[in-house]
Symmetry: D2
Subunit: 358 residues, 4 copies
């Protein structure tokens, strides 16, 4: 399938390029960015003219095959030969251009622009494939031949993945979560200054808590009458920024509807996600959840790269005696891999296997 | 009053020295440490013989007046001329020597050795002065003329200070807390290696969670029949270590017994601690709780030194819709000031004012 | 004397405000910034409208007396009632507005705009007061009643202070220097991202090496025929950025013209700067150079705040057997105190005492 | 060939294990450590009994094949079936046990114990293979059938690799170097505390500067009359510790004997090491020196893992006008890969190819 990446010069866009190198199903045909980069070869678009420095921010080098692709203007991108558009742009820009692309083909986005619309599914692979039912509604409402589906906020991803098997097996009464989020989550414009975060924690990330609370309920919601009915449990968060490069750590306290032993909880995590793991998706990890018995884990630096950042690593499962049927644990999710571009690609693979994209 | 500091060469001991410089009530008469340092002048005891480096770890220089005091062997310390002993030693050593000192005079300790004994009060100034009632029991049980009182774990301090006014005004049903603790809390032997905490969070601190849970209930407990009856609400914690030098940050979710508005919560914090703040104690801050309306605060680096580290800085008070009558907030407490030596000195001042030490 | 601060809302401008609080000689009368802030009270100009966060970046709170001053437009600032203008603005803006101010009064600047002009002295207090001779030339050339004098680059400051006594006593053949510079030196727009500097060193700071080389020669130059003749020794640098908040550390290798023992070098450092230290200048530290015998010092975090950041702390003086008459040492200088606003204020004080400003 | 690793439980030993996994030439047969670990399976020897935590410090998991090997007591290790012993132990221990092993077989060590002995070669692969001539002398002197060869200090490695081609092509008059060394270089006992290095630089590493100066001269020395005649140029260093996990960065100023253009310098770096690179050694990188034209590189975090840490990455080559025929540059070398275990393995491979080990 032929794919385009829009927002290709930004950090999130670069992560798409990295994830698409040598992808067995996808051929990267077009790169688009803002007008400023349009017309330049990709390698020139990511080179700072005054200093000669390369503005490439992934840990691995830029795939050579993409360096000479000429970047197009996102606003004028022609996608007649494209099967899927991946977008990695700011929310305001997404609001304008994603509907243009969706007229013709599926758009899988990391932007939040359409995340809270009633006719827009927010897919988390393995969790809510049935939300594809919304696509017909979206097409009808908006006159799209394709559709738009944004991925969840990176802080929601690990939390929802950890909750889904518990919700299915035991029911959930409520969730209390504190996040310690990596600086890469803030991007680079303006990003997090060393001066602000060194020897420090910043205990507030604007809008993050509301996003996590709302998205968790939507993603775990059920399709009823062609609509999503949000999961009926409360989610309460405090989201903080810590001096970590990549990987969001979250402490989670969950009240289950039905009493479960710690062994039972581990068991449902272990057996969850059988369906998606059996599909042979190229970007899927061997396990979506990896439970570690190491007492001091998960740790962002040591565990974020497990399965190339596609695992949710959970540890420290304990009983909680404060909440009814309470359990508590710590989870780690790679915010710029499973939580962004590579997660979006996994979604695309999943939707193809299910026949939603063809 | 004449005071001694035991464990004077360690980090916590050094903080006692700093806090005792120019103290209006206390005259530092004796310094004690392990046998290895005994007989040396203090300045030599904190000098590394091989490199000539000074092993002094406070941000301000060592008080000059103390440099020439000859360090004594803690195990053989004679305290006939001493009114209060401050100890800053490991728990095992405390178990042995603190009873020796307590035979003759009050011992105020940062060690946890006796913290969970039934006849030992754990004072938090302004919170539980009435626990002094235990001292008679302790004397009777142990044949002391003095007594032992350890301070709380540094992670308990800010939490208990924030909870006490809420408990008095509204009652507390339960508490869920996640801490992000500074590396200074781990001391220097072995302490936290840069290699382990850079670009990382360590989500487990052995025994810390149990301490906080137990101590919070004890400190907020009521005296009944000459004993402490622990506060009857549950406390559930996840304690983590972050790459911060000083200052423990905690996210707190509290279920109140009685519904309170955010304004009412701020009001009780503002008006709490009137008694202790009116006593004219030299180490007391102008406020025990400082509430900040700044949306991104409290932050460890920016707020830990407020009132020389004696304030609990609270911010981000919000309603919590998951817990019954829930409120949530973020607090910061300086773990090596109010949470250790200087807190112990404030306790001493308080006990003097109340006539418990005379 | 009545002073104005231009660029008052930026980080460097804020440091001027901090340094001018309770200054015995200077009364802050006017604050100016870009058009965007003009007309607002200072407290509003530093408040982020969307989040309500205060954008104040100094370690101590903003002086209360200045919060209600209405900020003026730097381009239209009327300075008829002002005796000295301190500017803390970008070089491009400085090029435009500093000459406007200089028509009427002295302008002391942290910008580099005029630093390399032949008729512009770059004062480093205690080092080159005789460069005041250039002011007449500048006035003649440019038709100023006042004058412009920029301070040196923050990386030059400590180096030149350490070299001056050596140069006077022994002569200097050449200097090789490697700097490890703090992130605060890069300001906040865009500043240094945590993502770029955590677990890292950035071995290049554009234009920095050229500045240090040129400025050191200019500052230590001699007045000959009304002009500065640059000091005739070579300076070769590699400037790097490290993950430190404040304080530039520099390793220095100096070839002296005349052989000197280490004791002689320490002696000239100790006895240097007698003149300026005897003038009773309010911002002058007790020593301009503090030599430490501690083997592991100077260290940025432990030593940068000595004398409120106005000392150059030197340590590790050793013989160097590679350079002729070589000595090597390590120095530390606070880049945003002595290296910026507070250094500029010390310059102002010095020029007043010498009658250059009256 | 069958190899043993002594000091297998320490950090450096673990790096040997990682580097020996799937090695095409070497089969790991024996693991030894201190008496405390002897008799335990390796997996148990690296597990903390009280907490259950695994004390494994490499970025990749411990090779599974080694987990069940029973650790032996280093002092009693029988090596009759072993062809090469790799040791990663403290200098004091090395002094005792390495001669025992060397009686029977070659010992390649990361310890400094024998580094400065006249009959002991310090191999740096590709630089000084001819120093093998010393082995006969060593055998005669000490009655060994095998021999001892320690690798250089990790800070020497990159410097000597960068200098060797310059020395051969142009001659060297003198070298001035400042290092910014990673915390992993200090190991874990006691290692570098986060409390000491966060927001800081420590400008002194005991004995490091002397080692680098002496070793560089020895490694680049010539064999004359069966002895090494140290290279006749001076090396002057200041070695510092920065808050970086892995990778030593060095700023280097070199005076060449013969004038060379920057292009010529790059050329000799590019063409150097042809011999060793042509040998097909399994651990050799494609280039020993990688020169980067990126203006802000090399950076420790971004460049240390090039060729799995076996490259010396050089950048920022400039003319230096202070030293005669001066050039200056910045280099980066991975201190625990090429600078320790993996470098030792490359040495072993090289000595096998040359027939020194057979």
């Amino acid at each position: 399938m032929k794919v385009a990446v829009v927002g290709a010069t930004g950090v999130a866009g670069q992560q798409f390029l990295t994830a698409l190198e040598n992808h067995p199903w996808f051929e990267l045909k077009r790169l688009a960015a803002s007008e400023r980069s349009a017309g330049k070869k990709y390698k020139d678009a990511i080179t700072d003219a005054s200093s000669g420095a390369t503005r490439w921010f992934c840990g691995v080098p830029c795939p050579k095959a993409f360096l000479d692709i000429v970047v197009e203007d996102a606003a004028k991108l022609v996608i007649d030969d494209i099967d899927i558009v991946f977008t990695a742009i700011e929310s305001d820009a997404a609001k304008e251009v994603e509907p243009l692309y969706a007229k013709k083909c599926p758009v899988i986005s990391t932007a939040s622009a359409f995340r809270y619309e009633n006719d827009v599914p927010v897919f988390l692979p393995g969790v809510n494939g049935d939300h594809a039912a919304l696509i017909e509604l979206q097409r009808k409402n908006r006159g799209f031949k394709g559709f738009i589906t944004p991925g969840p906020n990176c802080t929601t991803v690990g939390l929802a993945i950890s909750l889904k098997p518990l919700y299915d097996a035991f029911g959930i009464g409520s969730v209390i979560m504190t996040s310690m989020q990596a600086v890469s989550g803030a991007g680079r414009s303006p990003g997090v200054l060393s001066f602000d975060i060194t020897d420090n924690v910043i205990p507030y990330i604007p809008k993050e808590e509301e996003k996590v609370q709302k998205e968790t309920q939507k993603i775990l919601g059920a399709i009823k009458g062609g609509q999503i009915e949000p999961a009926p449990f409360g989610v309460s968060c405090t989201c903080t920024r810590v001096n970590v490069l990549d990987g969001h750590l979250e402490t989670v306290f969950v009240s289950l509807k039905k009493k479960a032993t710690l062994a039972e909880v581990k068991e449902v995590w272990k057996n969850g996600y059988k369906e998606i793991l059996g599909l042979g998706l190229p970007s899927a990890p061997p396990e979506l959840i990896h439970y570690t018995e190491e007492p001091f884990r998960p740790q962002p630096r040591l565990d974020r790269d497990l399965y190339d950042g596609m695992a949710t690593v959970i540890g420290r499962l304990r009983e909680d005696h404060v909440l009814p049927n309470g359990v508590k644990y710590v989870l780690l999710s790679h915010n710029t891999k499973m939580g962004a571009a590579k997660g979006a690609i996994l979604t695309a693979e999943y939707l193809i296997k299910r026949g939603v994209i063809s």
